[in-house]
């Protein structure tokens, strides 16, 4: 959805904007994203982050792909350099937030009950319970789910999608909406590749490219520390990019539709 008006008009669909009126009724052409309220709130969250120079990252994956383990290892490596906080989303329990707090950084747990995803309003409420002063990095660990979280902008700048090698290497083909929206894909638990002969990282990579996604694909094991350096370097590069954007008064939306605004302007 585009930045200018929250709508999603592209040259491909602009011709559908006007429809004939049924007699006796008044047709109103709307052309707004269905999740306009969520998107407005997400934009507000993003403005919050940008004002404070925070880089906000949304971590998404299937349950058990290693999001919390990745965060533990990332925090352990970077907490001396940067101020980090985490928002955890789970259906129940404070377990993940406690694991993060054990690393010595602030964590706020959102317990969603039965909701299968986080939305921008939940993030906004969570932000009011957190100390954002001097924060550099905010990680949002979404509910483990490869379907629903993909449709909700939270105000983050980047989407990171994890795919562990204990899953199928064709998951990007099965869940295209999620993997198309990734700014980086992490193939996790790579230390297990030695004993799992049915996951082909190159095949996973090809499935991601078939979604026209140019995102970097990093292979790592948070538990064993393999490949962590490339991830940490990428992350710090993104933080530098965010600081440049903040300086220039610019912002960035996650990957799902970077072209929206431009296409819309061309149509208009």
């Amino acid at each position: 959805m585009c930045d200018t008006c929250g709508c999603n008009v592209t040259p491909g669909n602009a011709k559908f904007a006007y429809q004939p009126v049924v007699p006796g009724s008044t047709a109103v052409s709307v052309l707004q994203g269905l999740l306009k309220k969520n998107d407005d709130q997400a934009a507000h969250n993003r403005a919050h982050f940008d004002r404070r120079g925070i880089l906000a990252i949304n971590l998404m994956s299937a349950p058990g792909s290693g999001k919390t383990a990745l965060l533990e290892a990332t925090i352990a490596a970077l907490k001396g350099q940067f101020k980090i906080a985490v928002i955890e989303g789970d259906l129940e329990t404070e377990n993940d937030a406690e694991r993060i707090r054990a690393q010595g950084v602030a964590a706020h747990q959102i317990v969603t009950g039965s909701a299968c995803h986080l939305d921008a309003h939940m993030i906004h409420d969570a932000l009011h319970h957190m100390d954002l002063a001097d924060l550099d990095l905010l990680f949002i660990e979404n509910v483990g789910n490869l379907v629903c979280p993909a449709s909700f902008d939270l105000g983050q700048h980047l989407n990171i999608v994890l795919l562990s090698v204990t899953e199928g290497d064709d998951k990007p083909a099965k869940y295209p909406v999620m993997f198309r929206g990734a700014d980086a894909v992490l193939l996790t638990k790579t230390d297990l590749l030695a004993v799992l002969d049915d996951f082909d990282p190159d095949k996973a990579e090809r499935h991601i490219r078939n979604l026209a996604n140019p995102a970097p694909i990093l292979r790592l094991s948070a538990r064993k520390g393999e490949g962590m350096m490339a991830w940490l370097v990428w992350l710090q590069g993104q933080l530098i990019e965010q600081r440049k954007r903040v300086e220039a008064g610019a912002t960035q939306r996650p990957a799902s539709q970077p072209e929206g605004a431009r296409l819309h302007t061309e149509t208009a």
Partner: protein, 120 residues
């Protein structure tokens, strides 16, 4: 599933539009959904009456229009249809394409019942 959240957001949006136009009812809600929007149209259709109950959109017909997946190649500029999980260029085979249609989730049109103003 998240389709109920989407249905609730849709009804809220339609209610806002009805209020803005002084409408007493809604005849039709036309929504355009692409396969890459992450919304299952059938589930949205099931969730809609639950979300619309007791609102001005209660009697509205929900018209779900499916958008095709179309991509434009950044390498050879060809434009064509693609599959949701295979967005490579049909002409030259390059994966560097951009979505032209297929990831949208748009409220296109609402048809409202707006009473004639009473002239005294």
């Amino acid at each position: 599933m998240h389709e109920l959240s989407v249905a609730q957001a849709l009804v809220e949006q339609v209610e806002d539009l009805a209020s803005q136009h002084g409408a007493t009812g809604v005849y039709l809600i036309r929504v355009r959904i692409g396969p890459l929007a992450g919304i299952e149209p059938e589930l949205l259709a099931v969730a809609f009456p639950l979300a619309a109950a007791g609102t001005r959109a209660e009697q509205a017909r929900l018209d779900l229009v499916m958008a095709p997946v179309r991509v434009r190649c950044q390498t050879c500029s060809a434009e064509g249809e693609a599959q949701p999980n295979n967005l490579v260029c049909g002409a030259c085979g390059d994966w560097r394409t951009r979505i032209v249609s297929g990831d949208e989730m748009i409220l296109e049109t609402v048809e409202l019942d707006i009473p004639e103003p009473i002239v005294s």
